[in-house]
Symmetry: C2
Subunit: 411 residues, 2 copies
C-alpha cells in the first residue's frame, strides 16, 4: 500500500556569523538579539525527515536516526507538531470543508542526519527545519518560509534560519507573542556562490555546557551581555547585511570573527564561566589571524574568517579561490588520519584521497611560530562545503517510513 498522506523533506545546517546567545522568552524561544547565518550546502550536511498522517495511527511518534525519540508533553517537539497541526486546520481545513482533516490524525515522523552526532555539529537546526518543512508539505500549507520559521524557532532557535538557503537573518522581533521573531533571506545562495566553508571538527574530551542552559546563565550573570545586545549587535546586523549584499568579504570576515570572539567573551563573562574553545580552537584562530595578517601586510585583503559555535569546532568561511591554500595550511599544522579527510568538493583530487597529508603547506613568509604543530587527531575531520539552498521536498522514493509507518532500515 502506498501512503496517501506523506511528505519527505531535507533541510540544511546553518552556521551563524552574528551569534544568537540569550533568550528573552525561554518557552517561545525569543532571542535577546537578532542573528545572521550562512546556510551550508545540504548536498553535504543535511537532516531528512518523512512525516506521515494516518487515521489508523494511535499516537504521534518520532524516530531519530532509527531510534525512538519520545514526544514528551510540553516539549519543544510537541510544540512544533501541535503548531503545524493548528496551522493546517486554520489555513486549509477551516477554509475548505472538503479538505481531509489531517490535523486530527496522528503523525509518524522519521528523521535522519547524514552527519555523525560525534562530529559535534548542531543537528537541532537542520532537524527542526526538516521536521517543519516535511509537515508543511504533508499539510499542503499555503504559507511562506518565514511563517514556517516561526514554528521551527520554537523547536530550536537557530532552526528558524535553516528554512532559507543563502544568507539568512533571524529578526529578533519585539512582540511578546513572538509573531515577529522570524527568519528572512538576506540574499540567496546564487548571490554569492563563491562563499565556501571548511569545518574543522575538533576533538573534545570534556562535555561542554549545553547552549540552552549556557545562554540563560549568560543572560542572568554577564554584565557585558546587555551592552552587546543593545549597542553592538544592531550595528553589526546592518553592516553584515550590507557586506553580504555588496559581496564585501573584507567586512564579512571582520564582523564574523569579531562576533565569534564576542560571543565567547560573554560566555566567559558568565558565572561560572563557560568555555567552548580549547587549545586546538585557539591554534586554528592563530593560523587564520596570521594568514590574514600576511595578506593584508602585503596590501591584500582578508582571505578567511573563523567562527565558533557552542563547541570547539571551527568553521572557516572563505572565498572558494582561497580554500585550497587554507586547507593546506590547516593540514600542515593538523595532520589527518588516512581517510578522515572527506574532500567532497575535490580540492585535492584523486591524490588527496590517497594521502591528504602530503598537501600540507604553509604559505611563504608565514610566521610558523604562531601555533604549535599538533598530533594526528587534534582535528579529527575536515569538511569542505559551501553556501547552499533551503529545504528541499524529496520524492517518496526517499521516504524514511515503510508501509507500516515505521522507520526503514537504512543501509
Amino acid at each position: 500500500m502506498s501512503p496517501n498522506y506523506q511528505a519527505t523533506a531535507s533541510a540544511p545546517v546553518n552556521i551563524a556569523v552574528i551569534k544568537y546567545w540569550g533568550k528573552r522568552d525561554t518557552k517561545l524561544i525569543l532571542p535577546t538579539n537578532s542573528s545572521l547565518s550562512v546556510t551550508l550546502d545540504q548536498d553535504h550536511l543535511r537532516s531528512t525527515t518523512t512525516s506521515r498522517a494516518d487515521p489508523k495511527f494511535t499516537q504521534d511518534r518520532l524516530w531519530l536516526n532509527g531510534k525512538v525519540d519520545e514526544i514528551k508533553p510540553d516539549s519543544r517537539l510537541e510544540t512544533c507538531i501541535t503548531e503545524m497541526k493548528r496551522l493546517r486546520k486554520k489555513t486549509v481545513e477551516d477554509k475548505d470543508p472538503k479538505a481531509p482533516k489531517l490535523s486530527t490524525y496522528h503523525v509518524h515522523i522519521a528523521s535522519y542526519n547524514n552527519f555523525p552526532t560525534a562530529a559535534g555539529l548542531a543537528s537541532s537546526a537542520s532537524g527542526f527545519a526538516a521536521l517543519v518543512a516535511s509537515l508543511s508539505h504533508l499539510y499542503e500549507l499555503p504559507v511562506d518560509a518565514s511563517t514556517l520559521s516561526l514554528i521551527s524557532r520554537q523547536g530550536s532557535g537557530s532552526a528558524c534560519r535553516s528554512l532559507f538557503g543563502g544568507f539568512v537573518a533571524w529578526q529578533m522581533g519585539t512582540k511578546s507573542d513572538g509573531s515577529d521573531s522570524l527568519a528572512i533571506q538576506v540574499a540567496p545562495e546564487s548571490h554569492w556562490p563563491e562563499m565556501h566553508a571548511l569545518i574543522c571538527v575538533v576533538s573534545d574530551d570534556k562535555k561542554g555546557t549545553s547552549s540552552t542552559s549556557g545562554m540563560q546563565r549568560t543572560v542572568e550573570t554577564s554584565p557585558l551581555l546587555q551592552h552587546r545586545i543593545k549597542n553592538v549587535v544592531p550595528e553589526r546586523m546592518e553592516k553584515m547585511t550590507r557586506a553580504i549584499k555588496d559581496k564585501d568579504f573584507d567586512s564579512f570576515a571582520k564582523i564574523t570573527m569579531a562576533d565569534s570572539n564576542q560571543f565567547h567573551a560573554v560566555a566567559l563573562d558568565t558565572e561560572p564561566p563557560i568555555f567552548y574553545m580549547n587549545d586546538v580552537s585557539r591554534a586554528i584562530i592563530a593560523l587564520i589571524v596570521e594568514y590574514n595578517r600576511l595578506s593584508r601586510e602585503n596590501g591584500g585583503r582578508y582571505k578567511a574568517a573563523y567562527t565558533y559555535d557552542a563547541g570547539p569546532n571551527a568553521v572557516v568561511y572563505a572565498p572558494e579561490a582561497n580554500m585550497k591554500e587554507i586547507a593546506s595550511l590547516i593540514i600542515a599544522y593538523f595532520p589527518q588520519k588516512a581517510g578522515d579527510f572527506k574532500d567532497v568538493l575535490g580540492l585535492f583530487g584523486a591524490e588527496g584521497a590517497k594521502d591528504i597529508n602530503k598537501f600540507g603547506k604553509v604559505p611563504n613568509r608565514f610566521n610558523e611560530a604562531v601555533a604549535q604543530r599538533f598530533e594526528v587527531g587534534a582535528i579529527k575531520g575536515l569538511i569542505h562545503t559551501k553556501v547552499g539552498d533551503g529545504p528541499r521536498r524529496l520524492g517518496d522514493e526517499e521516504g524514511l517510513l515503510n508501509a507500516e509507518g515505521l522507520p526503514k532500515t537504512l543501509a
Copy 2:
C-alpha cells in the same frame, strides 16, 4: 671603603583581584579603570634593589639579576630614575642648602628577583617598587608611599600597588598630569592575615601577547571594554573594598572570579583576540568552581577564588583553613615532579617534602568529571604564600653592590 650614599630595599609582588587592563595615557601610564590587589608575602616572592649615588660614577647604570639592563633615553626606567632625582631636589635639596646634592650624582642600581622569570610571574611590579623604594631611602625623601606610587606607576602600572602591603587600590584618577592616579592602602596585611594564596605555575608553549601591547589593542578594538570601564568596575571597586573591610570572603571570591573572567573576556573581544588562559588554566577553573559548588550546595560558603593575570598561571586565594584541601585537590589532578612543590608554609610537613603526590586528594562527593587528570608537568610548580607587607628597607649587609659599585656575585 664603605659607601656613603646607598640604600637597599625589597618589595613584594601583587596580584590584582580587580584587574587593570587599558591605559588612557600610555606615556604617564594612566589607566582606564581603577584596580585592586592583594600584596603577597615578600618572604617568598620579592625583588631586592640596591641604589647607590656617587659623584665618581660617570653614568646611571642598572643590573637586573646580575646582567646589564640598559637605561635607554625616554624609557620607563629612565623616567622613574629622573623623577626620583627631581623629587630629591624639590623636597630635600631645595629646602636645605646643606643637604648633599645627590640629585646631581649618577646612580648605580642592582636589582634581583628571587623567583625565576620562567615562573611566568610578573616581576615588573615588584621590580619597579623596589627600585623606587631603594631610591627613596637613598634620597631620604620625606614623602609617603602614595607619592612614591605615582613614580613607580610610570615604570609599570601595577608597580604602584606594590608600594603597600595588604590590600591596595590603584585609584585611576581623573587629572591629565596623572597626579591623582596613585595607590592607597585599603587594609593592612594584619587586618586579614588568613588570606592565603596558592600560585599554580602553568606551562605554556606559546609566548603570549605582552600586556603592554595587548591592553592597548583592547582599548582600540573591544566594544565591550568601555562598558566594563564605565559601568562595571566602579561598582566592583566599592563592593570589593567593602568585602575586604568586612573580611567577607564570599563577596571577595565572587568579585575576584568575575573580574578575572571579565578581563579575559575583553581580551577575547579584542581584534585579533588575545588568549592568556589555556586548557590547563580552564581545568583549574573547573576544579575551583566545582569545589565551591560542593560547599555551597551543602549550605556552605565560597572556599576559594581563582584569578588569572596576562598568562596561564592561576592564583588561588583562599582562607588559610582551606588551603591544604585546595592544594590536595590540585595535586590530585596535577601531579608534581618530585621536589618541584615548595611547601614553604609547611602545609604537608616533612612527608610532603619527600613525596607530595601522596597528598593528592579529591573531596567527597566532588564531581571528578569536571576536568581531566593531567600528566606531570602541566602545572610545573605550586607556591603557597599569603598576604604580606609593603617594601622593606634592608641593611647594607644585604646590599647588592660591591665596593666598586658593581653587582656582587650572588651565590
